[in-house]
Point group: C2
Chain length 211, copies 2
């Protein structure tokens, strides 16, 4: 795919790093007309949960439909988890980027690796917790769970964290506002990159260089 | 040079784009202990002007000293203008970057090209005026100058602008606060890049991944 006016960002993190809250705050604060941002809506074969809307939270499709899309190579990345498929369709993302809209993908390291291989311009961001103690606190704090359940969550988080060095950027979410401002700076800086600005500022430079 | 904890930024702009004010504001606002920033002090053979301090505004050296430094390949870049030499010495910059301090170079496109060739990790930023009319206004506004003098300044500015596409980032200085915030986002985002964070966060990830 040629350079698009929009930027594609992947944000990955272990459970407990605060990724969803950061993405939500970014979209709430900074989704203005000049620089629109969208979070990509994934496809899934799992059943909608109460309150989930088709096309908003997920594109809900049957197993047969999903497998047909796999055969058509319609996905940038897909994975199977607990008998359900999850995938990121190429078409919507490409079109959104071509309209100058930045797209956020909220996926795990395997998906990040697959998308980056297909779209090397993708900017990948890893959100890390500030310490092991704080991570355990955040993973324990949600409910009154058994030590065993918490240990399983910790093991899963540590496994995700072990891929931190595969990402282009690393943000430590210690103070939420600082982490949000860092995430914003990454998004803003990519809009200022030459490849994007040459598209946006074509008229300005023609005017400046006109005799 | 291997990856250093500090980042090197080059900022170039035509006269009238507001580059010096932007760099000054960046240093005034954001030069804290966690993320120190310095502007590199150039060498020159021209005589100090009233109020200029050796080692602060420039390193003032004789023509013979400068030519000896050229022979020693002590400069990342140097140029001659109006019988005077100007140059950016390698040693100070390399040491400053190794101490984790970000360094700003305020040089023109020729120098930017030379430094980038020697240090491909350098991040180059071009500051553009928002329109030809505004540029002429800013270049006229300084004093009561003749049309001829202003036209010369305009020609020189347009010549510098014609190299805008050689830079990694382009900022349009229309609203000063917006341009400053954009410059800050570029600096911040480079501090979050993996290569830098792997140095800074080594201990954090050892702790997170420790069994």
């Amino acid at each position: 795919m040629a350079t698009t006016p929009g930027n594609l960002f992947i944000v990955s993190a272990p459970s407990g790093a605060g990724k969803s809250s950061l993405i939500k705050a970014l979209l709430d604060n900074h989704n203005n007309e000049n620089h629109p941002i969208q979070v990509s809506v994934s496809h899934t074969t799992r059943a909608p949960r109460p309150g989930e809307i088709d096309g908003v939270h997920y594109h809900f499709v049957s197993k047969e439909e999903f497998e047909a899309l796999i055969k058509e190579e319609a996905f940038f990345e897909w994975a199977q988890a607990f008998d359900n498929y999850y995938g990121t369709a190429k078409k919507n993302i490409t079109e959104t980027l071509q309209h100058g809209i930045d797209v956020f993908l909220d996926i795990e390291w395997q998906g990040a690796r697959q998308v980056k291989a297909l779209l090397p311009e993708t900017n990948t961001i890893f959100i890390a917790p500030p310490s092991k103690e704080e991570l355990r606190k955040r993973l324990s704090g949600r409910q009154q769970d058994s030590e065993e359940v918490i240990n399983k969550r910790m093991a899963s988080a540590v496994s995700e964290i072990s891929h931190y060095h595969e990402f282009d950027y690393i943000i430590v979410n210690d103070d939420f506002e600082t982490a949000l401002s860092e995430l914003e700076s990454i998004v803003c800086s990519h809009r200022l990159r030459k490849a994007k600005q040459l598209i946006r500022l074509k008229g300005l430079f023609e005017g400046l260089l006109d005799d």
